[in-house]
């Protein structure tokens, strides 16, 4: 499945050489293409992944596709307006979607621990499952291990995908990704989790159970001695119980993670990388774009979200500031001075954002991009999502 990463964006409007104008990400072409089966929205924390996934899903549904969106930690009001504030870990129909074009929209909010528990329950005997679910190490692993949320998002995606394949319930799955410092976490998590579960120490704890490992036992008693000294004996016992009980599940976990990873490399998948026009977010986006191409994963393009709307009129920031200070000399509370300063502020922001974006484009000239201006208010209902959807599609 080593299809090359490509831009699945319909006709490209390539900028003239020398300018840093990226090709345009044609969102409607992406959503309408029956060949698009999965859209994954990634990006660093707070940039608008959840908003973008919900907006894309709604737009696709209203353009006629049978869509399910898997959201992670949506803002409370957004969750309410989509009817998914209940965490029951299954997709529910969203009310108020325009189904005239024949599409529909289901939505769900990921419950990470529950997803993990369900995997354990499906893989182990009831007796063993109970042992695992109660173990403090499992509780920590399933609720706070860095990467578990990403891993479970992938697991849930795999489940929904299999179900949709079986019964044709959906033809498009839109996936939000967890709030993490780095978008790379999403791709690294399954590997992190399986390599952790496959780590030296776990193998060591299992060694007596797994047969001939006599030369390790000298090391082991040193280690257990030291651990007992620092952590106490109870901790060590809990650890051992956990690892032993979990042993039979490791293989299953790894196999599932590999399957989902392959699904992400499938050419029916499209990654949408979301960034704010900020240095950190764009740097993360750049890392992520590079990583997608290394891992042969299909990139659709970049969404620059919450961009400052361009000011109108040909007045530069400096001119505006100079005029404002003259007006203020005459009248300290001058309205016009205030307007000019706002204008200067916005011009500077827009200039800075343009500079940051062109830096990204210089290094990644082929990445199709769409820019979504910041709305004046939060996005917390279907109307807001429609508006963002329209902006994503270039209008």
């Amino acid at each position: 499945m080593a299809s090359r990463p490509r831009s699945r964006t319909g006709p490209r409007t390539t900028g003239s050489p020398g300018t840093h104008e990226p090709p345009v990400l044609d969102v409607d072409a992406l959503l309408d293409d029956p060949g698009t089966g999965i859209v994954v929205c990634t990006g660093s924390g707070g940039v608008g992944k959840t908003t973008t996934s919900a907006a894309l899903a709604l737009r696709a549904a209203e353009r006629g596709r049978k869509v399910v969106v898997l959201t992670i930690d949506p803002a409370r009001r957004l969750a309410q307006s989509m009817g998914i504030e209940e965490l029951d870990n299954t997709p529910r129909p969203v009310q108020g979607v325009d189904t005239a074009a024949g599409g529909r929209l289901d939505a769900m909010m990921l419950d990470m621990k529950r997803t993990f528990d369900e995997v354990v329950l499906s893989q182990a005997t009831p007796e063993k499952a109970r042992q695992i679910l109660e173990n403090p190490f499992y509780v920590a692993l399933s609720s706070s291990f860095a990467g578990t949320q990403e891993y479970m998002a992938m697991e849930k995606l795999g489940q929904i995908h299999r179900a949709a394949q079986a019964d044709g319930s959906y033809d498009l799955i839109v996936v939000d990704t967890p709030p993490s410092r780095s978008a790379l976490d999403f791709l690294d998590a399954p590997e992190r989790l399986s390599s952790f579960l496959d780590g030296r120490f776990i193998r060591l704890l299992l060694a007596p159970a797994r047969g001939p490992a006599r030369m390790m036992t000298a090391g082991l008693s040193l280690v257990t001695g030291a651990l007992t000294k620092v952590l106490g004996a109870q901790v060590l016992r809990d650890m051992q119980t956990f690892v032993t009980a979990f042993d039979t599940l490791f293989g299953g976990f790894r196999a599932r993670a590999e399957k989902t990873f392959a699904l992400l490399q499938n050419e029916r998948t499209a990654f949408v990388v979301v960034a704010a026009p900020e240095p950190d977010a764009l740097r993360e986006a750049a890392y992520f774009v590079d990583r997608l191409s290394e891992d042969a994963m299909p990139l659709a393009g970049l969404v620059v979200n919450r961009a400052s709307p361009s000011p109108t009129g040909a007045l530069s920031a400096d001119e505006a500031m100079a005029a404002a200070s003259r007006l203020r000399d005459a009248d300290p509370s001058s309205l016009t001075a205030g307007l000019l300063r706002l204008h200067a502020d916005r011009s500077r922001l827009v200039e800075r954002e343009a500079r940051l974006r062109s830096r990204f484009t210089a290094a990644h000239p082929d990445v199709a991009t769409t820019v979504v201006p910041a709305l004046a208010g939060d996005v917390h209902d279907l109307e807001g999502l429609r508006q963002v959807g329209a902006l994503l599609a270039g209008g």
Binding site: R76, A140, R181, V223, Q234, A323, L327, L342, H343, R352
Partner: protein
């Protein structure tokens, strides 16, 4: 943006803030991306005057400090990285930085408190260090907070180390902060006895004392403010001392209240604006006028949202410090500007 300073931090320093001079540990948390690292750095600069030594710590493995201060990535080692913001008497202090990672902290802890010798190296070789610092519940946080504690409360075991007048911690985000600082409670189910437990107890005593303050950074948007309110409630419920709420990236207040209302209603006096522009020789056309009025309407709508959120913040019953949004972004120079704003507000 120093021209605007008078519009922000100009309130009298709050009474609460002036009672904070004995605080040794400032913990800075907040929703992701609201400016925790920026505020922590500015606070460290603000506290470092009069020859005081301030340590700025990060624990999330991001090398944010190095980036902000434009220095090489930090090792697990204290480094002097900047002069503090001087006071009127001109005497600055120093900001030092430390990047704490749990693996190094565990190795150091073992070396400092146990003579494990060969066993210590075996721990690493067998992947125990990795195991303990990634999965063993709470252990990671015990190690990170333990090192912060050690820096606040230096004792003779750490020979030759700098004694700091204050430590500023760029902490995990609001959603994890109570769990992070409440290491004792978190451990209760696990290490019920033993050295890790007694270490956790000592650390908790400092964290719950008046020598510690937890500040929360927010921006005036719904989700971060909600998270701040939840965070304060949670911190209070576990007995951790709340400092201030730092409201970051506040929009400039260039329009008077009446003008804001008019801007929202679309009733700003266009002719007056045109006349004003002419009076200072700015060539204008309908497009520029439309643009200015539309920008004003946008701004007014955001300000209204901000004001609504500010009221929520004010209802939290915690001292508030506002920091202006720097339109050109944050560089080392603007960190000092933010430090000055914090100090004017009475923090630092």
């Amino acid at each position: 943006m120093s021209t605007r300073k008078q519009e922000f931090g100009a309130r009298a320093p709050s009474a609460a803030a002036s009672a904070w001079s004995h605080v040794r540990l400032h913990v800075v948390t907040g929703k992701g991306g609201t400016g925790k690292s920026t505020v922590a750095a500015a606070l460290a600069l603000a506290l470092a005057s009069h020859g005081r030594n301030v340590l700025l710590c990060e624990v999330e493995g991001r090398q944010g400090i190095a980036r902000m201060f434009d220095v090489d990535p930090l090792p697990y080692e204290e480094r002097r990285i900047a002069s503090g913001l001087p006071r009127a008497d001109g005497l600055p202090g120093h900001v030092h930085a430390l990047h704490i990672d749990p693996e190094s902290a565990l190795m150091e802890y073992l070396a400092m408190y146990y003579k494990l010798g060969r066993a210590g190296r075996a721990l690493d070789r067998f992947g125990v260090i990795e195991f303990a610092t990634t999965i063993a519940p709470g252990v990671r946080d015990v190690l990170l907070t333990g090192k912060v504690f050690e820096a606040v409360q230096r004792n003779s075991r750490n020979k030759g180390a700098t004694r700091y007048d204050a430590v500023v911690l760029d902490a995990p985000p609001t959603g994890r902060i109570a769990q992070f600082l409440n290491v004792n409670g978190e451990l209760a189910g696990l290490a019920k006895v033993g050295p890790i437990k007694s270490q956790a107890d000592t650390v908790m005593t400092l964290f719950r004392s008046p020598r510690t303050l937890v500040h929360l950074v927010t921006v005036l948007e719904e989700m971060p403010v909600q998270e701040t309110a939840d965070g304060i409630a949670e911190l209070r419920s576990v007995g951790l001392p709340i400092g201030g709420v730092v409201v970051n990236m506040v929009r400039p207040r260039d329009l008077a209240a009446a003008d804001l209302a008019a801007a929202r209603a679309g009733t700003l006096d266009r002719a007056r604006v045109a006349a004003d522009l002419e009076s200072v020789g700015v060539a204008h056309d309908p497009a520029l006028l439309d643009g200015l009025l539309a920008e004003a309407a946008d701004h007014a709508e955001r300000r209204a949202l901000e004001d609504a959120q500010r009221e929520v913040v004010q209802g939290l019953g915690v001292p508030i410090f506002e920091l202006a949004r720097e339109p050109a972004g944050i560089d080392l120079g603007s960190l000092y500007d933010l430090a000055a704003e914090l100090r004017e507000g009475g923090l630092g």
